[in-house]
Point group: C2
Chain length 252, copies 2
């Protein structure tokens, strides 16, 4: 994978009524986001979850593909009537929705000519000019069109395919992260924390998240930066803050 | 809670870098979505996850509050520097960001006058004219401003508060749902399914989701409708489809 010496970002677009209705707990957001950051130095800056409606998909694809370097869609590329991601992306970019020759061959081989029915054939249709994202677990490939990557919604299949996205991505600076767990409440450290955030305003992002562990309350201070040196410096300040306030640090 | 005899919708806006980065697995989307549908007859039509950036929060609040009947935000109402939801909503609607008298009293009582520091006081600041969402587990209230409901990000605190949103909501038609689990693959039933969906085009929403259970592959057919009669009818058709194709139905 090529890399740029600057920040590269992405959005994730989860397409599917089952996630919106609360029936299914999404697992793809944290998986894709972690993978993009760890393996590619790409940070996810926005996620949207939308229903299987053509107009909604089109509007979101156009909006997100303009705003971010990459868009990852999940869901809606299977054989059933509610799988309308590929045709919606074709319409969004005003290109033909047609059989991709290689995808057609892959699926025909996988199912055998006699069992290759219309539903299965549908999975070979995509926007003209798409490149394939190979699928080692269930054959039906995902596709890349412009800066939009379309993957299936089933987490186990998606995760088996994700490495095959790499060849189409140009990565950026990796964001390093450190977590310091303090046995205190947020409101006890908020002022000092705000002071430290100001000191590292442009280089480190400090987040503060309450946690509960074995009946005790604590705060996880998560620091994120493209510079490991700044990350060390900010964590030195945080440890000093804990010492000053006599706060116990939880070692995990 | 008042009810309307029509569909009422909502969007969820998750504010927080920890969800975007993949560090924390979101649990609030499925909880809020299920609660809204089950208890209020309100369906969630869009979810967005965005970072703790003022401009991003403002743009999304304005956009979603226009498009949907209600917006539920989670996260960013605590005492630390990265909690900027309340001031961002004030800016979005161009109203003062100021102390809410009752919220101030609640928090002062909870912490005691001596321990009521600036970080804690910050949690009593909200857009002028906000109404409070009481918090039985950690005192700091959420707030409602116009059609925007602001709740904390910690799932256990959020869930303790959700019932207190009810008095500000006007509910709609409940969406009923049935799931039929078939031991088959999607591509085996996709054509027939599409035919059934067309038959119930305007009244029932049919979704198809692969599942894996004890090494076997199956498809969950989820039907959703505001009419229980139509739901029964569509499920009769689906059971016939299974019989025709000699597909085993999984009983759970």
């Amino acid at each position: 994978m090529k890399k740029k010496n600057k920040k590269v970002n992405a959005a994730i677009l989860i397409i599917g009524n089952e996630i919106l209705s609360g029936r299914t707990q999404d697992k793809n957001v944290s998986f894709i986001s972690n993978w993009l950051n760890e393996k590619c130095g790409i940070s996810v800056n926005e996620v949207r979850i939308i229903p299987d409606l053509e107009k909604t998909i089109i509007n979101n694809i156009l909006d997100l593909s303009k705003k971010f370097n990459y868009v990852f869609t999940t869901g809606g590329i299977g054989p059933t009537h509610d799988d309308i991601t590929a045709q919606s992306i074709s319409k969004a970019f005003n290109v033909k929705y047609e059989f991709h020759k290689e995808a057609f061959r892959i699926l025909e081989n996988y199912y055998g000519r006699l069992n290759f029915n219309d539903g299965r054939k549908k999975m070979a249709k995509m926007p003209r000019g798409s490149k394939l994202i190979y699928n080692p677990s269930s054959a039906a490939p995902g596709f890349v069109f412009k800066n939009v990557f379309s993957l299936p919604g089933v987490p186990s299949i998606l995760s088996s395919m994700i490495e095959n996205c790499k060849m189409y991505l140009i990565g950026g600076l990796k964001i390093y992260s450190k977590t310091l767990n303090l046995y205190t409440v947020e409101s006890n450290i908020s002022q000092k924390l705000s002071f430290i955030q100001k000191k590292f305003k442009k280089t480190v992002d400090i987040g503060s998240y309450p946690f509960f562990r074995l009946g005790k309350i604590g705060v996880s201070i998560v620091t994120r930066s493209t510079s490991t040196i700044k990350l060390k410096r900010v964590n030195k300040d945080l440890i000093e803050l804990a010492k000053d306030k006599k706060i116990k640090i939880l070692k995990i």
